[in-house]
Structures are given as C-alpha cells and as structure tokens.
Symmetry: C2
Subunit: 929 residues, 2 copies
Amino acid sequence: MSTEAVPATPVVSEAKEAEAHHNGKASLKYVYLFHEVDQVEELVGGDWEEVRGLLGGKGANLADMTRLGIPVPPGFTVTTQACNAYLAAGEKFPPGMWEQEVEAVQAIEEMTGKKFGDPENPLLVSCRSGAKFSMPGMMDTILNIGLNDDVAARMIERSGDARFVYDLYRRLVQMFGSVVMDVPDEVFEAVITGRRRKAGVESDAELSAEDWQVVTRKFKEIFRTYTGMDFPADPYEQLRLATEAVFKSWNSKRAIAYRNAAGIPHDLGTAVNIQTMVFGNMSDNSATGVAMSRNASTGEPELEGDFLINAQGEDVVAGIRHTERLSKLKEEMPEIYAEFEEISRKLEKHYRNMQDMEFTIEDGKLWLLQTRDGKRTAQAEVRIAVDMVDEGLISKKEAVMRVQPAQVDFFLHPQLDAAAVKAVTPIAKGLNVSPGAAVGVVAFDADTAERWAKEDGRQVIMVRPETKPDDVHGMLAANGILTSRGGRTSHAALVARQFGKPAVVGVGEMEIDLDGRAMSIGDLTIKEGEWISLDGTNGLVYAGKLPTVVPNINNPYLLKLLSWADEFRKLGVWANADYPRDAERAREYGAEGIGLCRTEHMFFEPERMPIVQQMIMAKTKPEQIEAINKLLPFQRGDFEGLFRAMDGQPVIIRLLDPPLHEFLPSYDDLVLSLADLKVRLQHGHTMAEMDELLGEIRTKQRFLERVEALRELNPMLGTRGVRLGILIPELTRMQVRAIFEAACNCIREGVDVRPEVMIPLISHVNELKVQQAALEEEAKLVMTEQGMEINYKFGTMIEIPRAALTAGEIAEVAQFFSFGTNDLTQTTFGISRDDAESGFLLEYQHRGILDANPFATIDANGVGRLMEIAVTDGRNARPGLEVGICGEHGGDPASIAICHKLNLNYVSCSPFRVPIARLAAAHAALAEE
Amino acid sequence: MSTEAVPATPVVSEAKEAEAHHNGKASLKYVYLFHEVDQVEELVGGDWEEVRGLLGGKGANLADMTRLGIPVPPGFTVTTQACNAYLAAGEKFPPGMWEQEVEAVQAIEEMTGKKFGDPENPLLVSCRSGAKFSMPGMMDTILNIGLNDDVAARMIERSGDARFVYDLYRRLVQMFGSVVMDVPDEVFEAVITGRRRKAGVESDAELSAEDWQVVTRKFKEIFRTYTGMDFPADPYEQLRLATEAVFKSWNSKRAIAYRNAAGIPHDLGTAVNIQTMVFGNMSDNSATGVAMSRNASTGEPELEGDFLINAQGEDVVAGIRHTERLSKLKEEMPEIYAEFEEISRKLEKHYRNMQDMEFTIEDGKLWLLQTRDGKRTAQAEVRIAVDMVDEGLISKKEAVMRVQPAQVDFFLHPQLDAAAVKAVTPIAKGLNVSPGAAVGVVAFDADTAERWAKEDGRQVIMVRPETKPDDVHGMLAANGILTSRGGRTSHAALVARQFGKPAVVGVGEMEIDLDGRAMSIGDLTIKEGEWISLDGTNGLVYAGKLPTVVPNINNPYLLKLLSWADEFRKLGVWANADYPRDAERAREYGAEGIGLCRTEHMFFEPERMPIVQQMIMAKTKPEQIEAINKLLPFQRGDFEGLFRAMDGQPVIIRLLDPPLHEFLPSYDDLVLSLADLKVRLQHGHTMAEMDELLGEIRTKQRFLERVEALRELNPMLGTRGVRLGILIPELTRMQVRAIFEAACNCIREGVDVRPEVMIPLISHVNELKVQQAALEEEAKLVMTEQGMEINYKFGTMIEIPRAALTAGEIAEVAQFFSFGTNDLTQTTFGISRDDAESGFLLEYQHRGILDANPFATIDANGVGRLMEIAVTDGRNARPGLEVGICGEHGGDPASIAICHKLNLNYVSCSPFRVPIARLAAAHAALAEE
C-alpha cells in the first residue's frame, strides 16, 4: 500500500506536503481532534469551504463549536482524505491512519478522564459519517461503542440501573449488526416485538431490565448466526470496523445514485466523526433538550425550546413524554440556563444567525451536541433580520437579502393556521393564482355570493367553472374564488389578484353541477352552502372550515426592512390599479406611480355596460358617437379619482384594449338560449307570453348577429387594442378628452397631475402615429377649452414581438415603453395562455420541457431577448427613454431580477405585490454587487 | 434683367460657363436645333440624364432620333434653363433667347426650303411643352403655327383643298385661343356643334370647306371678344406667345399639385419644342400610321401596325376610318416600307428594345414623329427578350431582368381574353388569391360541383361562403373557386394555390343563399347553374361566360429564359407538394426538391377521415393506437409516391401540424344540428324514427363532447404542431415509421431517396429534443427491421418568434431550418390572418398604415429581422446549416429578394409558382451585381 494511491485533489496535495514537512515522516495526518481545527484551517489557507471538504460538514461544525469554547463532548474526525485513500487502496486504511485514530482516542481519554474499554470508568463513543454535503444513503450513527459484557456489568454495579445499561448495550449490538455487518434490522426488531408480546406490554418503555438483558443476549446470538463471528468485545475492534463501515458507505448504491442526481462529485469522500457519548438520562441532575436562540414563530429575542429531565434526546423528539418549556429550566437549573444563554449568544454572534441547538446535561454538566441555522416563520425571519441589524450582528444589506420576497406575502394575506393544516388532507390542488387563505361557504353564482355576503353577512367562497366580467360583484363580495377551468391569467386569476382575493383556479378534477347546486371531487360531494377552505398561496383546497391567521402589513419590522430595501434597489416599483381605492392601497404599500390603469375595467361596471353595448350595437355613426359621449363623464370621474390618489406621481392610463365582443353575451350562450327559446315557442302560450318570447328572441337575435360579426377565430390576435382605436377613433378621442378634462379639474384643486397616455397592442410605428395625431388634436382642444397646459407623456405597450423588433422606429414617436409581458409571452411562444395553462403547458412543465411557467416568470432567452432588443434600440433612438413592465411578471421576483438586468426604470404590479417587488428589486441590485 | 436671376443648378452653371467661353459673348445658348444634340451632350459631360434635364424628355428624344439619321421633321428646343430664367425674371425672356429662337426658325427654313409666314411656301410648326419628366397639367400642343389669312388663302389656291386648309387654320385659332389666351374651349366647341346642327350632319368629317371657313371666322371673332385683341397674324408673334405660354404652364396649379404629389422638384423647368408640321393628309401619296417594331402580342420579329393613306394621325387613333395593316404599305409603297423597316431596326438597335413608333408620309417622304419602348404582352416580352439575346442586342442578364416574375404567371394559367374583358364590367372584386381565369356554371356545394363536372362534363365554378377540408373534392372538380369570406391564407386560398385553381375569395358584397341556391351582388342575382367568369390574377368576377386563352408553360422561349435565370440565381427553388402528382408537376416546372410535404392533407382524404376521427374519439390508449396503426399503410404509400417522384432530390416531410378539432365537425354545426334534432324529437314519430333520431343525437353528442374538450379560445396558438406530437407520441412514431419504411421500399426499387423530417411549431429546443429521441428510436427500429441504412436529416420549422430568437440553441439539435413565414408573420404581428385579412388589415392597407399585406410580402423590418437573427445564430451554432422558407412568401418575388439577401439556401413554393420563383431568384441575384 503506497500513498500514491490516494486521490490527489489540490487540497489533499497541499495537506500532504504541509504535513510531510511538518511531521518529518512519511505518513500524513488523517485524524484531527475537534480542537485541532486551527491546524486544518492553516493547512488549507484559511478557506472554510476546504475545511468542510476535509472534515465533512458535521466534523467541521463540531470543531468550530469546540474552538469557540462551547462545551462539545470531546471527539475527533478522520478526514475525507483518509476515506479516499482507503477506497483507492482496495479498502485498506492508509499507513499511519489507524495509529492516529488510536492516539486520538487516547487524547479523549485524557480530556474526559475516562478510558476506552475500562469497566471502572468506561469511555463510550459514537461514530457518525459526515461528508461535505449531507447525503442520504450514507452510514447511520452507531452509538455506545466501547461497551462489552465486562464494561456493562461494571456499569450496572456502579449505577444500579441495569435497564439503562442493557438498553445501551442492545442498541450497540443492533446498530453495529445492521449498519456495519449488514444484518437485516427486521430480525432485531422481531426479537423486541416478541419480547413485548411475551411481557404483554405495548411500548418498549414498559420493558424491564431483564427484558433488555434477554434482548441483548439474543442480539448477540443473531450477530453470530448472521456474521459467523462473535460480537467483537474489543472496543478498538468495534471502532475499527465502524470506521471502515463509514468509508464503505460512501460507495453504497443509494449514495452513488443520490450524488448522480444531485450533481455531487464522486471523489469527495466522507469523513468519520468519533465523539464521546453523553447521557441526559443518567440521573435527575441530567436532562436533554432542543432550543432556538430566538422565537421561531414571532422572532422575539428570547431562548425558546423544550427539554426533559433525566431523558434521552429521542424522548424529546418522539413526544412520548410531556416536555417542559425552556423557562422551566431557568427555574430548576438557573446556572446551567445562564450558561446556555451565554452559549446561545456566542453561537448567534459566530454564525450571525438564529440557531437551532441540541443539548444534553449529564450530571449537572451542559453539553452542546449540535447547532445549525434555525427554521422560522416569515414573520420571525423579518423581525430577526431587523433585530440583528440593530444588534450590530449583520448589515442592512444582509438583512434585506435574508428575507425572501415571497415571505412578504405572509404579511399581506390571511394564512391557514399551520397546525390545523397539518391535521387534514387537501381534497384537490389547482393553480395558485392569488395568494392567501380564504374560508367560506360555497356559492355557485355571483348573485348568491353577493346576497349571502352582504345581506346575511356570511363568509363565502365563490365557485364557478370559470368567471366572466359580470361575475365581478360576486367575486368582490366573496372571501375567495375557486374555478374548475382557466389558467394563471384567466379572468378569475386576474381579477382575484387585482383585488387581493385568494384564488385557486383550473381544478380540473372538480366537477360543478350548477343545476344540482353541488360540486364533486372524486367521490366527495360538496353542496352549496357547505364550508370549504382554500390556500391561494399553494393552490390547495380543503373541505370544511379551517382556522386562519391574519397578519398585518403595518408590521414595524417589515416596514423597516422594506425601507432598507428601498435604499438599495435601483428599479422603481409602480402598481397596476384601475380604481382610486386600488391606487390608494398601492401607494400605502409603497408604489411610486401607476404603471397601468386598464380603462376597460371601468366599462364593465353595471351602470355602464348598457351604454357600452349601445355603442357596439349602434347601426349608425351618430348613434355610436352618442353612446361614446355618454361614457365621457364616467371616465372623467374615474380619472379624477386616480389623479387625486396619485397626487405628485405618474399615472399611466392605457386606452381601451379588449375586443368588443367581451362586452356582449357569449356566442355560445346566445346560440343555446335561442335554441331553447325556439323550443319553448312550440309549446302552447297565451298571446302575451308569445309576444314576450318573440321579443326576447328578437333581442337575442340582434345580439347574436353583432356577436357573429365581431366573432374571430383567434380573438387574442384580433381586433383589439390600438386596432380598435384606429377603427373607432371617436373612442380614443373620448378617452383622451376624459383624461385631459380630469387633469384640468384636478389641477384646479391643487393636485399635481402627471398623466401618461398609453396605446396597447402596437405592432407597427404607423399605428402609433395615427393614434398620436388623434390624441394631440383632442388634447390641444381640451387644453384650449380649459385654458390650461398639461404636461403629459405619450407612449406605448411593447407586447407584440414586432413592436420589440422595431422599437427603434417606435421610440421616435413613443415617449415611454411599457412591456406587456403577458401578451408578449403568448405571441413569442405562440401559446394561448388560457388554453395552454390547463393543457399542454402542464405536460411541458411536468416533463421538464419547460423549467418554469413562462407566464409566471419571464422566459429570459426568448421574451427576455426581445425585451433587450427593445430597450437597446429604444434608448438608442431616444436616450433616456422611460421603460417599465406592467405584465403580471412585474410582481414576480425572478422576473424582477431580469428587469433589473435589463435596466428598466420600474416594474409595475398589482398593489398587493408592491412590497414583494420592493424587496425583490433590492435583491436584484444587491445580487449584482 | 440680369443672368444672376437664373436659378443656378450645377448643370446650368457648367453650361453657362462653357457657353460664355465658347461664344465669347454675354448671352447663354438657350436654343438648340435637334441636330445640335452633340453640343448639349458635350456641355453636360456626356450624361444623358442631364441632356434630358436641359432639353426635356421629348426634346432629347427628338434630338436623339435626329442624330441617328432618322428622318424627323426639323425643329429645335428652347431649354429648361430658359424657362427657369424666364420665371425667375418675372416672366421675361432671358437676354438673347428670342434672337436665338428666331435664328433657329431660320435654320429650319433653310433645311426645309420653306419660309415662316411666306404664303408661297409656308413653314408651319408645332409648339409643345417638354419637361424632364412627363407631367399632366403642362401646356397642350399648338399645331399649325405660321398660318394666317394670307398664308391660308395661298395654300388653298395651290392645293385646291379649302376644307383641309380651313380645318388647319381653325385648329390653330382654337388651340391658340384656349391654350395660350385662356379662352374657354367650350365656346369654340359650341360653334362647331352649332354648325353641325345647321348643316344637319352628325360628325365634323361631314362638314364642308365652307363650314370650316365660317367656323374659322367665328373663332377669330371669339378670340377678339375674349382677349380684346385680334388673332395675331404675325407668325413670329404666334411663336413668341406660344413659347411664353409653355413657360408659364410650368407653374400652373395642376402642374404644381402634380409635382408635389409625385415628388418632382419645382426647379427643373420645362423646355419648349418647335417642330416643322408634316401632313399625312396632303395627297394620296401621303399617309400616317403607328407601328411596333415587333409583334406586341406574340413577340414575332416583324413590323406590325396600322396606317391610313391621305389621313391625319388622329384619324388612325380615333378609329373613324378603317385602317390598313402595315403589310399593305409594303405593297403600295415598297420603298417607303423598306426605309421604315431600316429605321425600325436602327431604333431597336439604338434603344435595345422593341419600339412603338408614329410616322407620317408627306408627299412620298417618310417622317418619324415619335418613338418609345413598346408595350407588349407577357408572351411577347419573353420572346423578344430571348430573340434580342440571339440577335446580339442585349445580354442574357438583361433579358432575364427585363421579364418580370409576375409575367411568368401568364404561361401557367388560362387568361380571360383581353378584348372580351374590355367590353364588360366586372360585377365584383375580391382577393386575388390564386391566379388565372376560370369560367363555369355556379355550383353551391362540393357534391354538386363534382357531379356536374364529372358526370355531366360541365365546366363549374364552385361558390361557397368559405371552404372546409371536406369541400376539397368539389374544388378539385371545379375550374375555379369563389368565396364570400376568408383571406389570403384561408382554406380556399391555400387549396386553390396548391392545385393551381384560379380563385377569388373574400367577396364581401356577395351574399349566398344556399337554401335558395342563388347568390346576389347588389341587385344582381345569379342562380345555381348560371355562368360566371373570374380572374384570379386581379380578383375580378364577371357575369356570363367570357372567352379564355390557354397558354403553355412549355413555351421554348420561356424555357430558355428560365434556364438563363437558373444560371444567375443563387437561391435554390423547391416546391411545396403533398401528393406525387404535385411533386411531378413541380419537378417539371424546375423544382429542385420538396420543401414542404404537409402530411395532414393526406388525413383529409375521404377513406382516411373515419380512421382519423376514430383516433381522436378513442377512449383508451390501445383504441387510439389501433386507429393510428391503421393509418400507417396509407402514409407509407403516400411517401413512396413522393420519393419516387423526387428520385435524387430532397423531400422535406413535416409531421402532423393542425389541431385535432379540424378533423371533426365544427362546434357550431354540432350545436345547431343538435338543437334542431331536439326540436324534431318533440314532434310525433314512429318508434323506429324515434330510435334513429336518438341514435343521431347520441352520435353528435359524443362528437360534441370531444369537440368541446378540444375546443380552444385561440386555436392558432393552441395544441397543434409539435405540441400534438409530444402529447400523442404514437402519432409521431407512426409517421416516422411510414417515412422510413417507404424509404426502404423505394431504395430497393433503385430510387435515390433523400428524406428530411421536419417538426412544426417549435418554440423551445426541448420540444425538438423530445421529438428527436422518438424519431431516432423509431427510425433505428425500422432500419434494423429492414436491414438498411437511410441517410436522412432531422430539422424544424422556424415559425414562432421564440424559435427564431433561440435559433442558436435549436440549431444544436436541428440539421435544417425552414421558415414558416405564414405563422411567423401572424405571431410576430400578433395578427390572426383569417380574421384580419377580411377585417382591420384591409383598413390598415387602405389608410397606408401598412404598405403591403405582410402575408403577401415578408415584412422586412419585423419578420425579416427575426429571420436574420435565426439565420445568423443558427449558422453560428451549426456552420453550413441548411435554411429555407416554405411559407406562402416563398413564391412572392419581393419576398424572394429578401430571402436572397438573408442568404437562405432555397425558397419553396407551390408548384405553379416555381417558374416565377426561379426568375425572381435570378432578379434578386442580378440586382446585387
């Protein structure tokens, strides 16, 4: 066996040389006591990653704690380098390694005053694997190495606790047998089960000392039967075999498969950690527990945890015995508690994060067994980050980076109570289109939803196959929305996000029987009026009424954190808002402007729809203009409200976008109800009934004719947006007039008005020129009439590939761009989102053809490239061109990072996502530093 | 008046200097005799464009002919420079100009032996304007300047033809009065009308010498009344006033407006041409006529024209007298004819083109009055170009450039007889989607069309609101197709072009009453079985049966010209063909490969549709696979036929593209017919009838359920193309198997098979990878089974913006690209062509928002930019990547020029456009030289 066989990673080579030099002998140093970590660090040039590479994650952590002066049970680590050498040499320890391991045991003996294999004062150790990255398939822990018949017998004599000692002993034999010698664990378990049956008890805890003694004897017999050898009584033999077993487990089938899947190199090797056993169940002056350095739910700066006097660690976790709160330890062992507080502070200071610690008290002596960064709620995350800045532990930038944008959602929406959720199984899963939890009784139409909510004060979930514009009043009245069809940008999803209503859509497995007033999912049937709960954050639906928790955006820690985020971010954060109440909310959440006001949403209001329909159904131009003019005062009022709410901030108003047929009843409904009316006509009726029926048929027939004329094979690519504005210039002019009259009125009130007029769906610069001419003429007219001058901008959506590709030409006319990435994604991919998100796109994501839903996160290579072309060409043509994004992506953190890279001026998102966007924008800026 | 006032264009400055130097005196040379053209040419450095600038177009042409030794009536030109000087000086002749004009008259007198104003031998001249570019609004011609009472009286004495002389004289007074002095022409015409009434005759020709004498006297009275002066008897005064009138007409309102519209600079000025009058009606030894140097219909190399003995030019044009063919002149005046032939040859040689000439014979002397390039038919254009190469007049390149690609269409499709078309008015105009003429009786459905055509041998035009796949048998049987709906890429248009059937679609004004079996356009009603004629080349529709002309692609001149085109072009020309018969035709027309075989077209055949529907309606996977497997032998047979037809040439086969619902009845039809069936159910029926009705309802209900499940809001952006192939991999495998089994079978027959498999509608490289894996596996399987190795390529359509934007990634997998510019245009513009081409796109073109229909010609800035990105990135990733185009644009000359610039390897178009594409590709290549 020669040292040349050792795989030579750079680290290892350096280590080899340094060691060879240092020790002046041929064998390398393969074994480090925990407190020798400085040597290791020096060896690898101070790089902690390389320390972890050599000692493994667990070994490095234990060494690190030891160096900090934390009371860690003494121990040592056999390096990954030793493992690699062992495997390379055909499963032989490299020269000198075993000798070093024995020396290390002796060093521990010195530190603890105990002796390995000495019945009078026996040292027991554990053996654990520990690779650089934690990895399933590696060897499990072996506890209590050092026990044998002699040691056990003397321990019983000394402690008088035979049950405790035999339990330790049988564990050693069982773990050693199954883990080191591959004896099937079931065989051992069967013995215990048999013993329980024989003793007539239910749990292991009820077995007696005698039982465990018998079990231990039987385990040793099993060991002999399966391995053909006696259970090794020699502690050093136990240690040697355990060490080898760890090395071998590096190449276990499961470990290799995992490394392949996770992309972990196969030549890292694993370290072996040998550590002194300590026992929290040795006496009433002993205890064991777990603790967080701060409250994991609220983030309050106080130790929090559970412990048990005279118990083992697994007793705390298993929940067999009733644990005590940590405050009780303060009463019972005040000095230990004080020491623990001190350690907790020290660890936090060292790791600069809240710690999740395991500890054991053995006969009045506190030991720390493990520490790691603690898991916590979003609320705690925010408070801890902010507190740690105040405490000087971390910088503001670190605090900002530590809180994930998605965690901010927690402060914006009610959440299902976490404990309650754990206890139940969801009945269905759909698309998580609008976050937050909602609980209510099922209502299958908008009118019912509204009546129950408003008149009866009931909490309602509105459930529909899909929603339409005339369902909005019901959606507003409901706590949440659930649909069986539709995608991430369906009507239901858009409206829900717009108004911050939790929503789950596209639950394909849910069948809704509108006539029977019931929905079914598999065998489960839920009738109208029964309770359901839904979580729009993850798309899960539950039967029944689950408890909810309502957090608050005005959390002072969150506000502080967001204010720091604002210092770092370079992107502006604006909001999409159509109504003054949304604009006010957006502003409260920190929006710096309105990036998108969709004027058509105003057309859907009940008192306006008839006028809009009159405009569409008009047979003559004057009739059409008359209807358009009736809309003027409504629109003017809308804009006045918006301008007041956004005093001093820009407001981008987009002119009418959707195809006209959206304002009329659907073709299918009309065809079906006409067929129905004609059937009814064939039955006997009075003259009056006949007249009424015929009148209804005539009306529907008229609607149908118009709908047929407007009908398009692909409405998404049809007559809408600027195309509509060009075909009906009077509509453009009315909207422009409303904007400018509203602006004049507001200025007179002293409001600082900053309107920006935006044209949708441009594909050619000439479309913009035509609209610009109409706009300028009308704007001048209004300004002359009113004797005022309004500063405004004129710009366009970039939401069609050709607009992006010809952005240079378009920027000659447009004073600003706003990316409509919903439509841009549809056209760039050639995907109809409404069809695809509940169709082949699911299959694509499922099969990994697409990493992410491109409607959730901007597709950087395709859509992103178009955006880059548009930004570059646009700013070349018009230096300083204002460019933003108003698509749904504007509120998505990954997309915000792309917008930051593209040097956009701002992102605009729904009011509820403004705080998230502020944080995400800061992340994007800081990630670049 | 100083020379500084003359606008100084560079030409003029040079002229000024040179002249001042040459003549050694202050005044410039403003007047050039026709034979002094060499002086002018020298003056401007030999640039003929500048000669035209100074002498005007007409003056330069006359001077050029004179220089060639052609007998042109002597004359001179007053330069545009003189005009500019006149206008700049406030309407005063520049110094010396008038003197030069008088000198020039004297020079003519010497040449002709006649004398201006001399009653014994009077010189009469015409005065015409002549700017560089011909322009409406400029001064009309004044003839017979030099006549007055004395001259007229003596001419009558000498000729004895008072009628002739008074007609000349009254024309001078009338033209002079109306053109120079602004006397309303109606006043003069009223006198002639009155005279006709008095004489009791119908035409001017019947008026006597006395009548014209009276008319002349009255004209002079009118002249005096309106102008306050006598008609000027002095010929020089006539000449001076006429010259001034031409100058002034440069700034007439109409001329200025025209120049503004046409973008002609306002500082060019007009020249004045003064030319000796010659008279073809002076004696029986006189004649006048027009002639083409070659046959304008056929291109045969022989003089062709008409003439009249003893007549004026306008008599030939007006068609009052029966003209003689030019061959008659050969008999009657053989020497003159020989001289004319000689002149014709000389002019052709000089102008290197066929000439359109006007001539007059005055007392046995031949004069040429005008020559210009002659208009001709497409057939003549081709023959003349080829003949002229053989005659050494022009080069092959010139010949190729001279024939426009669109002219080749003439050889491919029947044409309406031009004379017949002149005599009738079209009844409607639609989109000209498939060229050529068709005549037939109207049939309103496919079955009728097929029955009438096949069983009764009738010629049929199939007329439908729009066509669907199951109409194809009728379309094939019909001579032509006419629809009231649909755009340039509607089903009707695509199929018509595919099969070379003339078609006009989208005739919105046409209403079709399918029940009444009649169509109406305005007040006109045409019943089924009545004749109509349509011209797919220009979109016009005629009532009745017009005669047609059927040309032939195998015209030897065309074949020669195309073979030259092939020498020059760099683009390959391939064809889109789905059936062996199309492939054969394409090859006959010169295709070098199949760029697109649409496999779905094979699915629409009547015997296969039930199997395709079975596949779609399948409830289980095995049922679906069973149907798919039934399609295999059909597809294999299809491909075998194609491979045989394209022996030795590449064949690109595209896997299934359209959404599945296209193979099922339409949603609307199903809903309506179900509603109808349910109504019928309510009436009394026998049990058997009831059963039948219920069965039909069940079947339709099943269809409807499937159609509803497949229904998409925007099918164009939906589940089709590769998305289908991924969802139903068995379909991909069946098609791949069919291709490779067919290839193996053909190779065994000795056919050289070159299959290329193409995946449609890619937007992400991963889609292609998934399909590639399936393809390779199946291909290998077949090759192993058959024990053969097939060379094939695997590639993709680029028809979605994202595919173009990520072409670099895609080219790592794809071995070839083919641009599907139909869909690429739709997605790049965000336009649904079927909806838009009969909708807002018309308005956009009408209003000039778009210059051209982007579905007819590639949009260079948008779609073209994406194509450029795809070609560049694709070839960077895979050098030498084969890139072609298979969209409709592949047959459009302007788009072919773009493809040439983009360095594509080939264009692929319908077989009927292959010859056009060959020529267009040559044009593109030659335009670059």
